[in-house]
């Protein structure tokens, strides 16, 4: 069975629906009110909840639904599940209280029942699903507490609900959007590999990021992860790298994390990208989602583009830090071609530094960046633009100039502009036209690296 019943259901039952947002079942129901398909709350104590006719049990629902969400205490889940035979195709068990707190037998029982009645299960102990293309949101977090990112091209697959919510917050801060977000928790049935397979074919998804603490079936994981990363930019953040982290991961989802070094070297061998930490993951995601048209891996590990970077800055020191990070990331800050350097020396004031980085100094004007970009667009694979807005020559007009120039440049351009508030509007204008802006020189380089890799 495809996961289409999970991602694109026509009808949803919520077992454990509640009347107010003080209960998790109430939060989920409220979030489901936006869904365009049919929603059936189940709660024996109410004839109606939040304006929807409510059913005493799943059996009373007048149709077989595509998706059922269970938000009831763990001990009740086996019986509830049995009652879903022939009533649903797919179940999200949001409840916790299973292997993650030592209740492995209960979890095994649930798994067995799921197989017997022939339904696919997401969870238990999971956040569920957010699919803005269907206005589908099964999270038990109120909107005021987690503002959802808009519709976009990034899929987030996370074992941990906490990290899922942090990643969604960060995606929103990065001014980009979500295609699908899934928290899969204890993964007794649908696991990361199934989700990779689905997302590889999903048209709305152009970038996939995945937070993993442990892997169930290692062979299947590698096969699907490899397949996905050959189709789309795909980055994994693996947690539980040290002994204490591994112990924490175990008690958190009840799956053994395994030796990180082994995991790491396998990913490397198969050309699957890995982020070092949370911020690296988000910095790369931002750049990739802004530049989804850069061709994906032509061969495993190699994009169809080179690694020559030109840095154009109005602050010498910031250019040096960017050049240092390029070196650490394996990007080449190659010399300007002699003829181009000569030409730029003619058009720019004598005190500009015509090297790579190009130093436009504190006397910079917006158009200087465009002059340099146009001159060098064929000589480099990507550009890091540093625009420190502390000098009068940097204005909001820079955004419009870049926009007009981008068609000709046709190479990825990333910006570093400090996030100290004085250039908030310039940053927002640039990001609206899909030029990513980073708060430090090093993070800008890491963003560019994600595109060029």
């Amino acid at each position: 069975m495809s996961l289409d019943y999970l991602f694109n259901p026509k009808s949803i039952a919520l077992i454990g629906a509640a009347h107010s947002e003080e209960k998790l079942g109430g939060v989920i129901l409220k979030n489901l009110l936006k869904f365009r398909g049919r929603v059936y709350p189940v709660n024996p104590n109410y004839p109606e909840l939040m304006g929807l006719k409510t059913y005493s049990s799943a059996q009373d629902i007048p149709e077989s639904v595509d998706l059922t969400i269970i938000m009831r205490p763990a001990s009740e889940v086996p019986e509830i599940l049995k009652g879903l035979q022939d009533k649903t195709m797919c179940v999200i068990i949001a409840s916790s209280g299973f292997a993650e707190i030592g209740q492995s037998e209960l979890q095994d029982e649930v798994k067995k029942i799921g197989k017997e009645i022939g339904v696919r299960i997401l969870g238990p102990n999971c956040m569920g699903l957010y699919n803005p293309y269907q206005r589908l949101d099964t999270f038990f977090l109120p909107y005021e507490r987690l503002k959802r990112p808009r519709k976009g091209n990034v899929a987030v697959v996370s074992q941990s609900g906490a990290i899922l919510s942090c990643l969604l917050g960060a995606v929103r801060e990065a001014n980009t959007g979500i295609s699908k977000a899934i928290g899969y928790g204890n993964a007794i049935d649908i696991d990361e590999s199934d989700l990779y397979e689905y997302l590889a074919e999903n048209e709305e998804t152009q970038v996939v990021i995945s937070y993993i603490e442990s892997v169930g079936d290692g062979r299947k994981f590698i096969e699907r992860a490899k397949m996905l990363s050959e189709k789309k930019p795909f980055i994994i953040l693996k947690a539980g790298k040290g002994l204490s982290g591994q112990a924490a991961a175990f008690s958190h989802t009840g799956r053994l994390a395994g030796k990180y070094e082994v995991f790491h070297s396998i990913l490397r061998q198969f050309g699957i990208n890995e982020a070092g930490d949370f911020d690296e993951l988000i910095d790369a995601t931002k750049a990739l989602s802004y530049y989804p048209s850069i061709p994906p891996l032509a061969k495993v590990g190699i994009r169809g583009v080179g690694n020559r970077v030109c840095i154009i800055t109005n602050g010498g020191g910031s250019g040096v830090l960017a050049a240092d990070e390029c070196m650490r990331q394996g990007l080449e800050v190659t010399k300007l071609p002699d003829d181009k350097a000569e030409k730029l020396r003619h058009v720019f004031p004598y005190f500009y530094g015509i090297n790579n980085p190009i130093d436009l100094t504190a006397q910079v004007k917006d158009e200087d960046y465009i002059i340099a970009l146009n001159e060098l667009r064929d000589d480099y694979d990507g550009f890091v633009i540093i625009a420190l807005p502390n000098v009068m020559g940097i204005t909001e007009g820079l955004a419009g100039m870049i926009k007009r120039a981008m068609t000709d440049i046709n190479k990825p351009v990333v910006f570093h502009i400090p996030a100290n508030g004085v250039a908030r509007r310039l940053i927002s204008l640039l990001e609206k036209m899909k030029i990513p802006v980073y708060p430090s020189p090093e993070r800008a380089v890491k963003g560019l690296k994600a595109i060029l890799k």
Copy 2:
């Protein structure tokens, strides 16, 4: 001569004062209007500038001033300097156009004249000085373009003016303050070492950070840096680590950067702290400036505190990422003492994870953090608190509870709260009471590491 004339002048002359902020000499004059001492603008074309009596030349000023700022084209600087004999103790040459663009002879001439007339020189090609304790601000950046941080305990010493302004912006974002900020540029006289020596004794300064591209006198540098780091927390960010970075650093300040590996191993040998990049420097600075009372290095490289860390989280995954970073930073996430774990298991719901990290789950309440902190305060050297505000149990009340508990806890506590906007007030309340908050688990751990190291 002490640098007191530079940092705490009673009188200042500005050669190159201008009538409007469209000129750099006008920006500086405007910033000097806040200074409480005497200010003498020099410009032969105006009898008055911004309400201040203006002098045709330095010779006309009716006293010998403590500090003179020169903001005139490089070619004029030698003559201007000669005219300052017996008229000033100290000079800031803000003008650029010296060794950084190949004009080394001009720079040498200026250096020689400075020696002959017996004045100390900061610069040329430098940002100058910001000393909020004297309302002294010689920067050529308007306030609207660079909002100055408030009075505080962090001294910033930067070869690059661009990085100085970025660091000041970041210090302000970190909700902390500045004791002194100095951009020293080409350093023909006063260099980083002189500044370290001054700041080691400066009472307002409790933390020193220094951005360096190149070092003039290596022996002097090591001696002063070592002395400073034995007195106060002190962190260096060295740029120009790779070949392209080194070339960029040279064209930027006209001093050769030298081989980074050598520099790095010398710092290490002498127990002087180094940040890996801009964000690491700022994350460490924030924690150190919030916790200046933690005793400085008892011996080189060793603070008087241990490295046992307890992580208390309401999101399992975030706790795992923090534990991973602890491992990378050499901090120990040691097991909870058996008796304490037993006690916590009694007071907390059965589904909380009583390990290290302690997982308070999505069912968390504010007071749970306080219960755990109070129970474990004697067993750990520092605490990482992760409070994901996506669940209803995290409220602004947490800040007040932490405040009341801190006296008893008496160990450094750092927070991770995602910067997605929903907990802006909680973050601001915590930082007002000097608890640093970081936007990712890993950055919180790096902050704590800076304190415990």
